[in-house]
Structure formats: C-alpha cells, structure tokens
Symmetry: C2
C-alpha cells in the first residue's frame, strides 16, 4: 500500500530539495498538510514566480530578477575600483556582512572542476573579461574557497587577468580568529607562518 497518488506526488516533488530524502520529504509533506497549508500555498506561489523570473545579473552573475543587481547598479561601488571574485551568492553576503569591502563583485557560480565537466565557459569568464576590459579596475581580489578547486580556479583567473594591468590579490590563509593553535591543521599553520606580518608601532 502507498499513500494516495497526490500525497505520493507531493512527497516525490519535495525530494528535489537538496539534503531531503524519502523520510524527510514525508515529514515535510505531513507537516504542511497538517499544520501549515497557508505556508505551503505561499511557498508554491513564490517558488513558481522565482523559478520563472530570477535570472543572473548581466554584470556580476548574481541572482536577481532585474537586469543588473543592486550592487552593480550603485555608482558608489565603482569609486574604489576593486573587484572581488567569489564562488557563490552566499559568499557575497558573507563578505558584505564584514563591511570591509566597498567594491563590486563577480560571482563564478561554482569552481573549475574538470571531472564534473565544469570548465571556464561555465564560470562566465567571458563576462569577467568584458568587465575587466571596460571598467578599469585597480585591483581584483580572488576570494574563491580555500579548497583545491578554489585555489585552481583562483590561479586560472589570475593568469587570465594578467594582461589587464591590475593588481591581483588572493585573500589571506591563516589561523581563524578564536581558534586554538593546537587544533589547526599543518597546512593552514604553515600558511599562517609564511604569511606573518610585522607589528607596526
């Protein structure tokens, strides 16, 4: 015996969400049906509109329903002529929350990963080159993840950006604030040592 066809279809559809298997999908379906039909109906509406209308910003590739996103529309963001290259829209939020960066972003929406068939074209590097050619940035900051793929992607972009006469920098590797030295891995620690700074009094 199974659930009624429509209930089963709902459970199957919910499985398209990442990290949601058969059991979680069942729990979600029952929760919505039993306790939050209004929320479920609202989610249905938003999901439909979002899937149809959200595209990529023509300049930075971030998700937006307009042609270009809020940051790219802002003239202020061009003043200090910096471009920060990150892997995902979540990284933009994380960097914005620090309040340390006032320039523009470019979102790769992934990293180079030949095994998964993700090459330079999939990361929108042609759009990036157009940005570099037209906007006269002084510095590009490579803020891809400190993983093997992230490092490889950063290197690839550094090579590509050479010819535009900009300063190319990579975010610092080192010990995270609040961590304990004893538990930091050797690789990070050697980065922290080699990247040490002199105290300036």
């Amino acid at each position: 015996m199974k659930f009624s066809p429509l209930v089963q279809e709902l459970i199957n559809s919910l499985k398209c969400l990442p990290g949601v298997g058969a059991k979680s999908a069942q729990r979600m379906a029952f929760h919505l049906l039993e306790r939050n039909r209004i929320g479920g109906a609202k989610l249905a509406g938003t999901l439909k509109v979002a899937m149809e209308n959200i595209g990529h910003c023509s300049q930075c590739r971030n998700f937006t329903e307009d042609d270009s996103c809020e940051i790219c529309q802002s003239a202020k963001r061009l003043i200090n002529q910096q471009l920060c290259i990150v892997e995902s829209p979540g990284d933009v939020i994380a960097i914005e929350q620090t309040g340390e960066f006032q320039g523009r972003y470019f979102i790769l929406m992934g990293h180079l990963s030949p095994l998964d068939g993700i090459g330079p074209d999939d990361l929108g590097l042609d759009i990036l080159e157009k940005q570099l050619a037209t906007n006269q940035f002084k510095e590009i900051i490579l803020a891809t993840n400190p993983t093997v793929e992230g490092e490889a992607t950063a290197h690839f972009i550094a090579e590509l950006a050479k010819k535009y006469q900009v300063v190319i920098s990579r975010i610092a590797h080192g010990v995270p604030v609040g961590g304990e030295l004893e538990y930091v891995d050797g690789n990070t620690l050697s980065h922290a040592l080699s990247g040490r700074k002199s105290y300036s009094f």
Copy 2:
C-alpha cells in the same frame, strides 16, 4: 546588503518547511535556482494542487484527495472486522509494510496533549465512535506510540470503546528484535518480562 527581493522571499518561504532554518533555506534556494529549475517549478505546481485538494478520508482521517481512501474503499478490509488506531499516516505505511494486518485503520493525526491544547475533539474521536457504532468491529487494536502521550491516548480510547462490546487490545511492548538486552532500558525490559509468552510445542 540583502539578496534581491524575490530571492529573499523565496528563502523566507522555504523556511516554512520543518527543520529548515535560514542557512538551509538559502542552500535550497540556490540549489533550485542554479541546478534544478524544472524540479522547482514542478514542486511549485504539485504543492499548489496538493494544498488545495488533499483532505481527510471521511472514515479513517488519512490524507487523501478523494472522499475516502483506498483502504476504506476496499470491502476486503472489512472481512476480519479489525480496526487499528494509529497516530499518523506514516504509522499506517509502517504497519502495512509488515503485511500482518488486513483490517481498517483510524488515524488520530496526533495524540492527546492538554498542554498543547489538543483534546479529544482534535483527534476526531466523534468520527471514531461513529465508525464503532456502524461497522461492528470485533477488535480494535490501539497502536499509538509507546510514549507517555501515546499511552494516555490509548487509555482514553479504550475507556471510550468499552461500551461497544469489542475486544480492545494494545500492541505489545518488549525488546526490539535485533537489539541487545544489555542496552535495553529498564522500563522496556520489565514490560518484556511481564508480557512473556510460553513456548508452544
């Protein structure tokens, strides 16, 4: 800085799912936007139809888009005149998978919980009484969860069903198959001992 309004709305809507907080909702939204727009659109459609059309079976209270569910429609299910009372639709599936039960079900959609304001009315006990009065069951099996609330609910229903002259039984408590005696809690173990059965040769 926030996400664009529509992206933010999508993330907020996804938070209505149980066990999904801000970070998971963001991950789900990005996953759907980046990798599975078709799945997202399908989910939106199914969700809308499901929220509008799925109701409760008029006889057993299970979720169904019809007036009564598949099990209640089947005449075969009435032959052995047994009624199994469970807390949730998931329990029906679990019992059906054992293949041990051929009767009908009644789903409480919860358990008595005075602190949460869930009383007998919310469990559809009036529909249950109507079932007992009209269908002439020989036995009702109380298969609520072996928790404090489940036990209390079972007792309450047992009291209520007394007057219908049916056998009222409760599923057995004891050591789960495949477990190790050493790690079974004392309460379960005393149930297992007091409920022991003689070998029949």
